[in-house]
Symmetry: D2
Subunit: 284 residues, 4 copies
């Protein structure tokens, strides 16, 4: 298991940032494993990700903020430091379609997703068997127009109790309220079964079929108050032809949804995603 720290920075673009950060890390004995940066010329922003090995790093990470503050202040940085030894705690939300859930659980099981999954939440009992197989607590909380507030309150209580950092909507078919969403800014990942912004909203495969598109897509994105309008993390497409009926679109779409959602989750828990405005930078 690797023992690294990752620094994510966003600040106005100016001279000397790389030199200052590089000097700070070098002075404290950091063995840099990955470093990537990006300048957004239009918005005059500088974005950076640095990951370093904590072996040999002479600074206690609990002291990082205090010691790094001169650099951060000088360049007006927003930043955060994550450590691999404290893995993300991820809650999976699911309804009836279980392909994304099953895919994520297997990837977690096989070591592809370095996080903890303390619970699965569903508004239907159907996915119980997968939770049992992987020995993850499963909470059925039916949601109706009437009980939505109460149901979300229960969900939030569970999430708080389990100290959840990230919510993954694995084809969870309920729209979360603004009150819920604001508790997890840029911490809720959804998969939409279309190539956004095409076919946002309901029944995207039906509408793609009717429109006669030649490619179908899927999109993973952070959830915001505006439905299907949050920052896009990943998209992919698959070719279809007139021979594909609606059922074929749905089947091909499932494979897209799985890869697009699992990539988003992996990048998030690897601290590879930076959000600004309505866009994401994915550091590779």
């Amino acid at each position: 298991m690797k023992n690294t720290a990752t620094l994510l920075v966003i600040c106005p673009d100016t001279k000397g940032i790389v030199a200052a950060v590089g000097e700070f890390l070098y002075r404290n004995g950091a063995n840099v494993l990955h470093a990537d940066q990006h300048q957004d010329g239009e918005r005059q922003l500088f974005l950076m990700r640095v990951e370093w090995d904590l072996r040999g790093f002479t600074l206690d990470l609990d002291e990082f903020d205090r010691r790094f503050s001169p650099v951060a202040d000088r360049f007006q940085m927003r930043y955060r430091v994550e450590r691999s030894s404290r893995p993300f705690r991820v809650a999976l939300f699911v309804s009836k379609y279980d392909h994304c859930l099953v895919d994520l659980l297997y990837r977690h099981h096989s070591g592809e997703l370095a996080c903890e999954i303390p619970l699965i939440v569903s508004n239907h009992p159907d996915a119980q068997k997968w939770a049992d197989f992987y020995r993850i607590p499963f909470h059925v909380l039916p949601v109706t127009a009437q009980n939505k507030d109460a149901a979300e309150a229960k969900q939030l209580a569970l999430l708080a109790e389990e100290r959840v950092d990230l919510i993954v909507l694995a084809r969870y078919m309920q729209v979360l309220s603004p009150r819920f969403v604001e508790q997890f800014p840029q911490r809720i990942i959804n998969v939409h079964h279309s190539f956004l912004p095409a076919f946002s909203g309901a029944r995207p495969y039906h509408r793609a079929f009717e429109r006669g598109v030649k490619l179908i897509g899927a999109t993973s994105h952070y959830v915001t108050d505006e439905l299907d309008e949050g920052p896009i993390i990943e998209q992919d497409v698959s070719r279809i032809s007139h021979r594909d009926g609606l059922e074929d679109l749905i089947a091909k779409g499932r494979d897209l949804e799985k890869v697009v959602l699992s990539r988003a989750v992996r990048w998030h828990i690897d601290n590879r995603v930076l959000v600004y405005d309505r866009k994401t930078v994915i550091f590779d």
Copy 2:
């Protein structure tokens, strides 16, 4: 140069169509080179394309309609027969962006597009040099809000004079009037620089850039009265990242536009496209 005939059929789906068409062609000595059919289960439609070698075919094609009418009537067919010896006459329309025009001209020159190109029409003089190089008559017809009717009348006169079968809008930046479009139903191919229905209308690359999509696309489609709403012929996409600025999107998009438009033109002149409702069948 091949000497073939191609039959395209659309009719209600019922039993016996293949047997009847097959028997008709066989009786007249057709050596079938390609045959493809499609049943649209939802709409209960049968669609077919058959191409056969005219060597050994004992029926004069001018007699085809009269002799085929019992079959056509029995199955309520809409159909047409095209012969390769009568290549499509294609007009290219262009404005200032010339990459699609240059691409189509080279493909035609190298034998990839088996059609005739009797004229190029533009609202700007810029593309004259390409027309000269390939020795194709070039007509500059500036279009303004004031002279649009007169300009289109001149265009239509030129197209009639040259007996044009197909108009290709190779990044032609003027919207054609309904009066113009109705003269060429399913005979005008446009390329739109987005993955329709996403970013229909103006400035799609700018909007794709602002939205932060992870793939950009291009779409070729038949022109109808509704802007960017005609039947889609072909689409393709290309991956982009946060490192791609607006200029990079536009550059990557050019390569998409070229392939997406040239495929549509080739399929149309090879009689591989059947339109029904708002969709296309592309027989391969």
Copy 3:
């Protein structure tokens, strides 16, 4: 559940085949659902797939051979008829890497693969838990250089007992003997973790990494006596960059292997694959 029959034909290309087959099916009341054909101009071969609804079909399928033989004889056809009511019986072989196995089991469970899976065979005990979860008998048969003949004899006995039609090697790491392979001609599907013919043989990801390719691939194919040389059913690729280490190639490759193998299995059990020479036709 659909109740259809599928006819697959290969014969020398000549005039009248479509008419004759179409007339035969029409005369017996077939409601054709899908028909596809292909002419291989180089080899002068005609290949066809027709699927029809058995409701309304007036011919007992057990009588098919006798009644169809005049047509078959006239055109020197090799053909077979399959019925959807008799699903393929598929054996899955696996070693330690379980991602393809788990993927196939889930697809089967969710109705995507219309076959029966009466057994799983492995040379390691690791996959037992998946077999248990899906309630499929699991047979551990360790294979060594010494016991290989005996182990294969036991495998063949199991396959015979379970009347297996198709063997799927889901990352089964043992090479089957020619004696074994000849029992299942074009009935063993393997997945190779490279874009064949590149990197055939051992350790393809290592060699791809060393060679510095920019795309990695996976290939599903029928097993023949020549290792990795059998007819290719499906291939796909994924982009990599210098940032991808060997472990990343292997992880990305897993997703390729899953889709490439599951497509091959689905096409085979849907009777969409025709093999001739060393190639396949995939009827869509």
Copy 4:
């Protein structure tokens, strides 16, 4: 026209490199536009590309080597500095297939390739018309087994006279001698019409067709003494089916060859390519 400098570095991976380079550039007033780096963990190598605006840079670039040498020596760097004001001088070599040549010339003409093209060399006269159109000197040097040495000597003289930095083999069908190649190490880019290492050598499309692959590819790479074994710069693939004859493979392949070669040329002249061992790093 941009006025930038680009530094490319390769050295053993150790602590402090980024800090040292960053500090050096900052001290001299560099406004960094793009910076990218890569650590090859296996080989313990550090690779970096930095591009900065020369406006405000206080160091004369002719002095760069002298001033940078303490940093370079300390970290045992191999490095080079390129300036955008001194564009690459590129020679295009072509035989009869002209699609790559025409594509590159158009991209250059439209501003997509920021280089100079002082000459085109061919062993056939066919491409003269394109050279004339774009007003580029065209040299016909027929090559036979007998005159190969003399022909290459003439080519080398032309290249020296025109101070050529980069040779692009745009489907040039002659194998260059080791003597020739060693004059332009990592300065000759070839396009091979297959997905290397599959189908290296002669007639790749024929062999791909015979093998029945489901995807065809193209590869651009640096030329070394070993045929088709040089470091790969870019690869791409296109899906084919049994319906594609050999001619279709060749036609689809042309589009692959064009994009794969033009990307390699653009990346090379943008100083985005670093070669080490037999691999490339493409800084994006």
